[in-house]
Protein backbone atom coordinates (compact mmCIF):
# COMPACT_ATOMS: atom_id res chain seq x y z
CA UNK A 1 0.00 0.00 0.00
CA UNK A 2 1.66 3.21 -1.17
CA UNK A 3 0.73 6.73 -0.25
CA UNK A 4 -0.09 8.39 -3.56
CA UNK A 5 1.76 11.51 -4.64
CA UNK A 6 -1.34 13.55 -5.29
CA UNK A 7 -3.90 12.26 -2.87
CA UNK A 8 -7.62 12.67 -3.44
CA UNK A 9 -8.01 13.68 0.17
CA UNK A 10 -5.31 16.35 0.24
CA UNK A 11 -5.49 19.81 -1.25
CA UNK A 12 -2.37 20.43 -3.33
CA UNK A 13 -0.72 23.47 -1.74
CA UNK A 14 0.66 24.77 -5.03
CA UNK A 15 -2.69 24.84 -6.81
CA UNK A 16 -3.78 28.46 -7.28
CA UNK A 17 -7.54 27.97 -7.59
CA UNK A 18 -10.34 25.83 -6.18
CA UNK A 19 -11.00 24.60 -9.69
CA UNK A 20 -7.37 23.57 -9.96
CA UNK A 21 -7.56 21.72 -6.68
CA UNK A 22 -10.69 19.85 -7.69
CA UNK A 23 -9.19 19.00 -11.05
CA UNK A 24 -6.11 17.53 -9.35
CA UNK A 25 -8.26 15.59 -6.91
CA UNK A 26 -10.44 14.25 -9.73
CA UNK A 27 -7.41 13.13 -11.70
CA UNK A 28 -5.98 11.37 -8.66
CA UNK A 29 -9.32 9.64 -8.06
CA UNK A 30 -9.49 8.62 -11.72
CA UNK A 31 -6.01 7.14 -11.53
CA UNK A 32 -6.77 5.29 -8.33
CA UNK A 33 -10.00 3.80 -9.69
CA UNK A 34 -8.31 2.75 -12.95
CA UNK A 35 -5.50 1.05 -11.03
CA UNK A 36 -7.94 -0.75 -8.74
CA UNK A 37 -10.18 -1.87 -11.61
CA UNK A 38 -7.14 -3.23 -13.46
CA UNK A 39 -6.46 -5.68 -10.66
CA UNK A 40 -9.98 -6.18 -9.30
CA UNK A 41 -11.37 -9.61 -8.60
CA UNK A 42 -14.13 -10.85 -10.95
CA UNK A 43 -17.46 -9.24 -10.14
CA UNK A 44 -15.88 -6.27 -8.37
CA UNK A 45 -15.97 -2.78 -9.88
CA UNK A 46 -14.49 0.48 -8.54
CA UNK A 47 -15.83 3.99 -9.11
CA UNK A 48 -15.69 7.43 -7.50
CA UNK A 49 -17.96 10.44 -7.16
CA UNK A 50 -18.02 13.83 -5.49
CA UNK A 51 -19.84 13.63 -2.18
CA UNK A 52 -20.64 16.01 0.67
CA UNK A 53 -17.37 14.98 2.32
CA UNK A 54 -15.16 15.26 -0.74
CA UNK A 55 -14.39 12.39 -3.02
CA UNK A 56 -16.05 9.15 -2.15
CA UNK A 57 -14.88 5.80 -3.39
CA UNK A 58 -17.28 2.97 -4.15
CA UNK A 59 -16.71 -0.70 -4.74
CA UNK A 60 -19.60 -2.64 -6.24
CA UNK A 61 -20.03 -6.37 -5.91
CA UNK A 62 -22.27 -8.51 -8.06
CA UNK A 63 -25.30 -9.87 -6.21
CA UNK A 64 -27.11 -13.08 -7.10
CA UNK A 65 -26.33 -16.73 -7.14
CA UNK A 66 -27.72 -19.44 -4.87
CA UNK A 67 -28.47 -18.34 -1.35
CA UNK A 68 -29.48 -14.84 -2.30
CA UNK A 69 -31.84 -13.29 0.20
CA UNK A 70 -35.39 -12.53 -0.79
CA UNK A 71 -36.04 -9.14 -2.37
CA UNK A 72 -37.05 -6.58 0.23
CA UNK A 73 -40.69 -5.77 0.69
CA UNK A 74 -42.10 -2.26 0.79
Amino acid sequence: MAKTTVDVSVLPADSPTIAGVRKAQAKAADDLVKARNAQARPGVKWSWAWGSRGIQLTVSVLPGGPGRAAAPEK
Binding site: M1, A2, K3, T4, D7, V8, S9, V10, L11, A28, A29, L32, R36, R41, G43, V44, W46, G51, R53, G54, I55, Q56, L57, T58, V59, S60, V61, L62, P63, G65, P66, G67, R68, A69, A70, A71, P72, E73
Partner: protein, 208 residues
Protein backbone atom coordinates in the same frame (compact mmCIF):
# COMPACT_ATOMS: atom_id res chain seq x y z
CA UNK B 1 -37.83 -3.46 22.32
CA UNK B 2 -39.12 -6.89 21.44
CA UNK B 3 -37.37 -9.46 19.31
CA UNK B 4 -37.89 -9.06 15.57
CA UNK B 5 -37.20 -12.33 13.75
CA UNK B 6 -34.92 -12.29 10.72
CA UNK B 7 -35.40 -15.74 9.12
CA UNK B 8 -32.26 -17.23 7.61
CA UNK B 9 -30.07 -14.57 9.19
CA UNK B 10 -27.10 -14.70 11.49
CA UNK B 11 -25.90 -11.66 13.41
CA UNK B 12 -22.18 -11.63 14.02
CA UNK B 13 -20.42 -9.58 16.67
CA UNK B 14 -16.75 -8.85 16.09
CA UNK B 15 -15.32 -7.81 19.45
CA UNK B 16 -11.98 -6.08 19.76
CA UNK B 17 -9.88 -4.51 22.45
CA UNK B 18 -9.27 -0.92 21.40
CA UNK B 19 -7.03 0.98 23.78
CA UNK B 20 -8.60 0.72 27.25
CA UNK B 21 -12.05 -0.28 26.07
CA UNK B 22 -13.78 -2.61 23.71
CA UNK B 23 -15.19 -1.96 20.28
CA UNK B 24 -17.92 -4.02 18.68
CA UNK B 25 -18.93 -4.47 15.07
CA UNK B 26 -22.21 -6.04 14.07
CA UNK B 27 -22.56 -7.67 10.68
CA UNK B 28 -25.36 -9.74 9.23
CA UNK B 29 -25.41 -12.66 6.83
CA UNK B 30 -28.28 -14.50 5.19
CA UNK B 31 -28.37 -18.06 3.95
CA UNK B 32 -31.18 -19.96 2.27
CA UNK B 33 -29.71 -23.21 3.62
CA UNK B 34 -29.40 -24.44 7.18
CA UNK B 35 -26.90 -22.70 9.44
CA UNK B 36 -26.96 -25.38 12.12
CA UNK B 37 -26.87 -28.72 10.28
CA UNK B 38 -23.49 -30.46 10.33
CA UNK B 39 -21.96 -30.30 6.84
CA UNK B 40 -19.66 -33.28 6.14
CA UNK B 41 -17.90 -31.36 3.37
CA UNK B 42 -17.13 -28.38 5.62
CA UNK B 43 -16.68 -30.70 8.61
CA UNK B 44 -18.62 -28.24 10.72
CA UNK B 45 -21.90 -26.36 10.61
CA UNK B 46 -22.35 -23.44 8.26
CA UNK B 47 -22.49 -21.10 11.25
CA UNK B 48 -19.16 -22.39 12.58
CA UNK B 49 -17.71 -22.10 9.09
CA UNK B 50 -18.84 -18.48 8.90
CA UNK B 51 -16.96 -17.71 12.11
CA UNK B 52 -13.93 -19.54 10.76
CA UNK B 53 -13.97 -17.61 7.48
CA UNK B 54 -14.44 -14.33 9.31
CA UNK B 55 -11.31 -15.03 11.33
CA UNK B 56 -9.43 -15.64 8.09
CA UNK B 57 -10.88 -12.47 6.59
CA UNK B 58 -9.93 -10.34 9.57
CA UNK B 59 -6.44 -11.82 9.68
CA UNK B 60 -5.77 -11.30 5.97
CA UNK B 61 -7.54 -8.00 5.28
CA UNK B 62 -8.02 -6.13 8.53
CA UNK B 63 -4.95 -6.70 10.68
CA UNK B 64 -2.68 -5.07 8.04
CA UNK B 65 -4.90 -1.97 8.29
CA UNK B 66 -5.07 -1.74 12.06
CA UNK B 67 -2.86 -0.31 14.77
CA UNK B 68 -1.14 -2.45 17.36
CA UNK B 69 -3.41 -1.18 20.15
CA UNK B 70 -6.31 -3.03 18.53
CA UNK B 71 -6.82 -6.74 18.98
CA UNK B 72 -9.77 -8.82 17.81
CA UNK B 73 -10.69 -11.18 20.65
CA UNK B 74 -13.79 -13.06 19.59
CA UNK B 75 -16.27 -13.65 16.79
CA UNK B 76 -19.74 -14.48 18.04
CA UNK B 77 -22.64 -15.41 15.82
CA UNK B 78 -26.26 -16.02 16.62
CA UNK B 79 -29.23 -17.09 14.55
CA UNK B 80 -32.02 -14.56 14.41
CA UNK B 81 -34.97 -16.68 13.33
CA UNK B 82 -36.30 -17.11 16.87
CA UNK B 83 -35.36 -15.58 20.19
CA UNK B 84 -32.96 -17.31 22.60
CA UNK B 85 -30.81 -19.07 20.04
CA UNK B 86 -27.40 -19.95 21.51
CA UNK B 87 -24.29 -17.99 20.65
CA UNK B 88 -21.61 -19.73 18.65
CA UNK B 89 -18.33 -18.15 19.59
CA UNK B 90 -14.83 -18.41 18.16
CA UNK B 91 -12.11 -16.99 20.37
CA UNK B 92 -9.33 -15.38 18.39
CA UNK B 93 -6.29 -13.25 19.01
CA UNK B 94 -5.57 -11.00 16.04
CA UNK B 95 -3.40 -7.97 16.69
CA UNK B 96 -3.16 -4.99 14.33
CA UNK B 97 0.11 -4.75 12.43
CA UNK B 98 0.79 -1.00 12.31
CA UNK B 99 2.21 1.26 14.97
CA UNK B 100 0.69 4.51 16.19
CA UNK B 101 -2.76 4.42 17.75
CA UNK B 102 -5.61 6.87 17.27
CA UNK B 103 -8.47 7.27 19.79
CA UNK B 104 -10.57 4.09 19.98
CA UNK B 105 -13.68 5.81 18.69
CA UNK B 106 -11.91 7.15 15.59
CA UNK B 107 -13.20 5.09 12.71
CA UNK B 108 -13.54 4.85 8.99
CA UNK B 109 -17.12 4.23 8.01
CA UNK B 110 -18.27 2.24 5.02
CA UNK B 111 -21.82 2.79 3.85
CA UNK B 112 -23.47 -0.44 2.76
CA UNK B 113 -25.90 -0.07 -0.14
CA UNK B 114 -28.32 -2.60 -1.53
CA UNK B 115 -29.68 -1.07 -4.71
CA UNK B 116 -32.83 0.10 -2.95
CA UNK B 117 -33.37 3.60 -1.59
CA UNK B 118 -34.38 4.46 1.96
CA UNK B 119 -32.94 4.01 5.42
CA UNK B 120 -34.21 0.46 5.70
CA UNK B 121 -31.93 -0.57 2.88
CA UNK B 122 -28.66 1.05 3.95
CA UNK B 123 -26.19 0.00 6.57
CA UNK B 124 -22.85 1.03 8.01
CA UNK B 125 -19.67 -0.69 9.04
CA UNK B 126 -17.31 1.18 11.37
CA UNK B 127 -13.68 0.18 11.41
CA UNK B 128 -11.69 1.39 14.37
CA UNK B 129 -8.03 0.83 15.06
CA UNK B 130 -6.82 3.36 12.52
CA UNK B 131 -3.03 3.80 12.63
CA UNK B 132 -1.82 7.37 13.06
CA UNK B 133 0.89 6.73 10.46
CA UNK B 134 -1.75 6.85 7.72
CA UNK B 135 -3.27 10.17 8.78
CA UNK B 136 -2.47 12.92 6.30
CA UNK B 137 0.19 15.15 7.83
CA UNK B 138 -1.11 18.56 8.78
CA UNK B 139 -4.72 17.85 7.85
CA UNK B 140 -6.92 16.86 10.80
CA UNK B 141 -9.15 13.81 10.47
CA UNK B 142 -8.17 12.87 6.93
CA UNK B 143 -6.58 9.59 5.97
CA UNK B 144 -4.76 8.71 2.76
CA UNK B 145 -6.97 7.45 -0.03
CA UNK B 146 -4.86 4.34 -0.57
CA UNK B 147 -5.84 3.31 2.95
CA UNK B 148 -9.51 4.00 2.22
CA UNK B 149 -9.27 1.92 -0.95
CA UNK B 150 -7.71 -0.99 0.93
CA UNK B 151 -10.46 -0.73 3.53
CA UNK B 152 -13.08 -0.93 0.77
CA UNK B 153 -11.21 -3.84 -0.77
CA UNK B 154 -11.56 -5.63 2.57
CA UNK B 155 -15.28 -4.85 2.65
CA UNK B 156 -15.75 -6.22 -0.87
CA UNK B 157 -13.94 -9.38 0.22
CA UNK B 158 -16.29 -9.63 3.19
CA UNK B 159 -19.22 -9.56 0.78
CA UNK B 160 -17.67 -12.29 -1.33
CA UNK B 161 -16.43 -14.65 1.39
CA UNK B 162 -18.60 -17.59 0.32
CA UNK B 163 -21.28 -16.31 -2.06
CA UNK B 164 -22.75 -19.75 -2.63
CA UNK B 165 -23.27 -20.29 1.09
CA UNK B 166 -24.35 -16.89 2.37
CA UNK B 167 -24.76 -13.20 1.54
CA UNK B 168 -23.70 -10.13 3.46
CA UNK B 169 -26.98 -8.33 4.11
CA UNK B 170 -28.55 -5.25 5.63
CA UNK B 171 -31.38 -6.04 8.04
CA UNK B 172 -34.14 -3.58 8.88
CA UNK B 173 -36.11 -4.07 12.10
CA UNK B 174 -38.11 -0.84 11.96
CA UNK B 175 -40.38 0.94 9.53
CA UNK B 176 -41.39 4.54 10.25
CA UNK B 177 -40.31 4.14 13.88
CA UNK B 178 -42.41 1.03 14.51
CA UNK B 179 -41.06 -2.48 14.88
CA UNK B 180 -41.68 -4.77 11.96
CA UNK B 181 -43.27 -8.17 12.45
CA UNK B 182 -40.41 -9.70 10.53
CA UNK B 183 -37.13 -8.08 9.53
CA UNK B 184 -36.52 -7.02 5.94
CA UNK B 185 -33.33 -8.47 4.49
CA UNK B 186 -31.42 -6.94 1.56
CA UNK B 187 -28.11 -8.19 0.11
CA UNK B 188 -25.31 -5.62 0.01
CA UNK B 189 -24.23 -4.65 -3.50
CA UNK B 190 -22.01 -1.60 -2.86
CA UNK B 191 -19.57 -0.35 -0.27
CA UNK B 192 -18.78 3.37 -0.18
CA UNK B 193 -16.32 5.33 1.94
CA UNK B 194 -14.56 8.68 2.05
CA UNK B 195 -11.29 9.81 3.59
CA UNK B 196 -12.80 11.60 6.61
CA UNK B 197 -12.26 10.00 10.00
CA UNK B 198 -15.61 9.49 11.69
CA UNK B 199 -16.58 8.46 15.17
CA UNK B 200 -19.40 6.39 16.53
CA UNK B 201 -20.04 7.47 20.08
CA UNK B 202 -22.16 4.39 20.68
CA UNK B 203 -18.97 2.36 20.34
CA UNK B 204 -17.65 3.94 23.52
CA UNK B 205 -20.92 3.60 25.39
CA UNK B 206 -20.90 -0.11 24.59
CA UNK B 207 -17.41 -0.52 25.98
CA UNK B 208 -17.35 -2.66 29.11
Amino acid sequence: MSFVPAPGCVRVILAAYAGDGRAYNFIWFHSSGSWTTYDPFLEMTRQEYLNFRLEEWWSYYMTPLQNDATRLIYIRSRLQDVEDRPNVQRDVDLLGALSGATPPNAALVATLRTGFTGRSYRGRFYMGGIPSSWLVTGVPNIIYDAYVADFLDAMAALGGLAPLLWKHVVVSHFADGAERESAVISPVTEYTANARIDSQRRRLRLAT
